[in-house]
């Protein structure tokens, strides 16, 4: 089983490049600075408490002792976790062993890889390190994490893993990528400001100013401070991850790079894409902008906050014109025009059930894809390859039955993504599901 992957057949060129063969087939440790970066945030927080205390020369030695103790414990835990963690690439698996008391041995079969990300948080960037995250379906990203590796090594390992994942030889050099899209940063900033959080904040501010004037006190305005901070943090997080984002196409998948202080570098093999969502928030529509989100069937990263609905799904195109979105979409799912879905609206009586969302409802499908529309203020068009459909459901509530409407749900891997042809005519839905089931069956069998 432990046959190293480096043994290459004679005459394959890459052997001349010594760097490529550097990917360890024997157990390797992470970079020694890893604990410093992993606990960097904690250390920072503790320092915030300690430094003022030292500065004020207060004689609270016990309190100081506790904090220094916590700091030391953190450092010790980091060092231990670094000592007990090792990894290697063996055969077609990435193997990670970790844990002191509870030993964990992780085997990631590379043929199942959904995506490989290269993350560079600010602190890691300072030290020239990067985190490699291997995503397989259904796992949190915590399982396939290599944090941290030297940047060059991380890039090499990524190339090797991707080659293995697509069934090529391990030493196949990373293929050249062809740039598809580069986000316009001005537009990114403007479009973030046009999102729901900012609008809510502005509404709150206006309300508080009015209230403040009426009541003659500034207390209301002060109480809004947490909201301002929260919205600021949200916007910052989005900008930080999507700034200067580029999408490039390579034979092994789409490359998504971006970030302001911390950068990330994702590679999504195209056959692993489960669905794409085309999103148009209400305030973006006058500008003709839209956003593309991509589903690769992984659960959200275990990092703080990313599970919240406020943190958007993996963006393929943070903001762009419809034309740009079409260019990128054509690479992922060729031959799909999502707007076709809006041409087939549910019957007009569906307005009684969903007055606000009605204009965004619609469904379109051919032999390979189904596109459904939904959303009240944010128009969301979900594009799903029929070969990825897990199951179908037709649901009709009492009110819908009164209106002779049913909704056809298309279930996708995981719990976050889901597409639905809302409020169709009951008879149409009754005719639609057998046809869809049949097409999905053919798409599963047929060539990808």
């Amino acid at each position: 089983v432990s046959e190293p992957t480096r043994t290459s057949p004679e005459g394959t060129g890459p052997a001349t490049d010594p760097d490529v063969t550097d990917v360890p087939a024997s157990w390797t440790r992470l970079h020694p600075l890893s604990p410093v970066i992993a606990f960097g945030r904690t250390i920072g927080v503790v320092l915030v408490f300690i430094v003022p205390r030292l500065a004020t020369q207060s004689s609270d030695a016990a309190g100081l002792g506790v904090e220094v103790g916590i700091l030391l414990l953190g450092v010790l835990a980091g060092i231990v976790s670094w000592l007990v963690t090792r990894w290697r690439v063996s055969g077609s698996e990435l193997q990670i062993e970790t844990g002191l008391l509870r030993r964990q041995s992780i085997r990631l079969p590379l043929a199942r890889v959904q995506a490989i990300d290269l993350d560079r948080p600010l602190l890691a960037r300072v030290f020239g390190l990067a985190e490699l995250r291997v995503q397989v379906a259904g796992s949190g990203s915590g399982r396939g994490r290599l944090a941290y590796l030297p940047e060059q090594e991380a890039i090499r390992v990524r190339a090797q893993l991707l080659a293995l994942a697509s069934g090529l030889h391990a030493e196949t050099p990373a293929p050249a990528a062809h740039l598809l899209f580069r986000v316009d940063n001005t537009r990114l900033v403007v479009s973030s400001l046009l999102g729901t959080p900012t609008v809510a904040l502005v509404a709150l501010l206006v309300a508080s100013v009015v209230l403040g004037v009426v009541s003659g006190s500034a207390a209301v305005a002060v109480s809004l401070l947490p909201a301002v901070v929260a919205v600021g943090a949200l916007l910052w997080r989005r900008l930080n991850s999507e700034f200067s984002l580029t999408v490039a196409e390579a034979p092994d998948g789409l490359r998504v790079d971006g970030g302001l202080l911390g950068t990330r570098h994702e590679t999504v093999p195209l056959p692993r894409v489960q669905a794409v969502r085309w999103v148009e928030p209400l305030l973006w529509r006058p500008f003709g902008w839209c956003r593309l989100e991509i589903d690769v069937a992984q659960q959200r990263s275990s990092r703080r906050g990313q599970d919240s609905p406020a943190f958007p799904d993996r963006a393929l195109l943070p903001v762009g014109t419809a034309g740009q979105a079409r260019t990128v979409l054509a690479r992922v799912f060729p031959g799909v025009d999502p707007y076709r879905a809006l041409e087939s609206r549910p019957p007009a009586r569906a307005r009684f059930k969903a007055p606000l969302a009605y204009p965004n409802f619609g469904v379109w499908s051919d032999d390979r894809y189904i596109v459904t529309g939904s959303g009240r203020f944010r128009r969301r068009l979900a594009i799903v390859p029929l070969g990825k459909v897990q199951s179908l459901r037709v649901v009709q509530g009492p009110y819908a039955r009164l209106l002779r409407l049913s909704t056809l749900h298309v279930d996708l891997v995981g719990r976050r993504w889901h597409a639905a042809a809302h409020s169709r005519d009951a008879e149409e839905a009754e005719a639609m599901w057998p046809a869809l089931a049949e097409r999905a069956r053919r798409a599963r069998r047929g060539p990808r």
Partner: protein
């Protein structure tokens, strides 16, 4: 794969099956287990504390509620049906909210056969299909144990034969 080939299309002549009538007996038993004590307690309490008219009205009202719940349960029991088609399992259910689930055998990740205490008393079991999607909800309650075992084995075999990657 784009041109429809008539030959290998699904023949939709699979017979419709229903849960065992014993499921209805079990549901009624459970219902009686709750309804009878409530009726008795309400009747006795009211009989001792309130005038006869109030007791009468109360009992009639409770009986009406019980009858409506009973009818609802009956409707729900009768709404369950499933069909084993060539490539997928169709389960439909629901009285107020009608649901129909289509789960291709090739998409099945695992199968659950469960039997609660009352189910076991009546020799029944529930078969549930799980796909990789959290929203899939194909479940068939009230199957006689033999049928549940047959269905489980058949679905498992079909799932293996038609399995597809994610």
């Amino acid at each position: 794969m784009s041109q429809p080939s008539g030959g290998d299309g699904q023949v939709d002549d699979a017979p419709t099956s229903h849960p065992s009538p014993r499921l209805w007996v079990a549901r009624q038993a459970l219902f009686a287990l709750v309804a009878v004590p409530v009726l008795l307690a309400a009747g006795l309490l009211s009989g001792f504390l309130a005038p006869a008219v109030v007791t009468g009205v109360l009992l009639v009202a409770l009986l009406v509620v019980a009858a409506v719940v009973w009818a609802g349960l009956r409707g729900r029991y009768r709404s369950w049906s499933y069909r084993e088609r060539e490539d997928d399992l169709i389960v439909s259910r629901g009285l107020l909210v009608r649901r129909l689930s289509v789960v291709p055998y090739g998409r099945m990740q695992f199968l659950d056969v469960t039997a609660g205490p009352i189910d076991r008393w009546f020799g029944l079991a529930t078969v549930q299909l799980h796909t990789a999607a959290a929203t899939s909800d194909a479940r068939i309650p009230g199957l006689p144990l033999v049928e549940a075992r047959r269905l489980r084995d058949r679905l498992a075999a079909l799932g293996e034969a038609r399995g597809a990657g994610l």
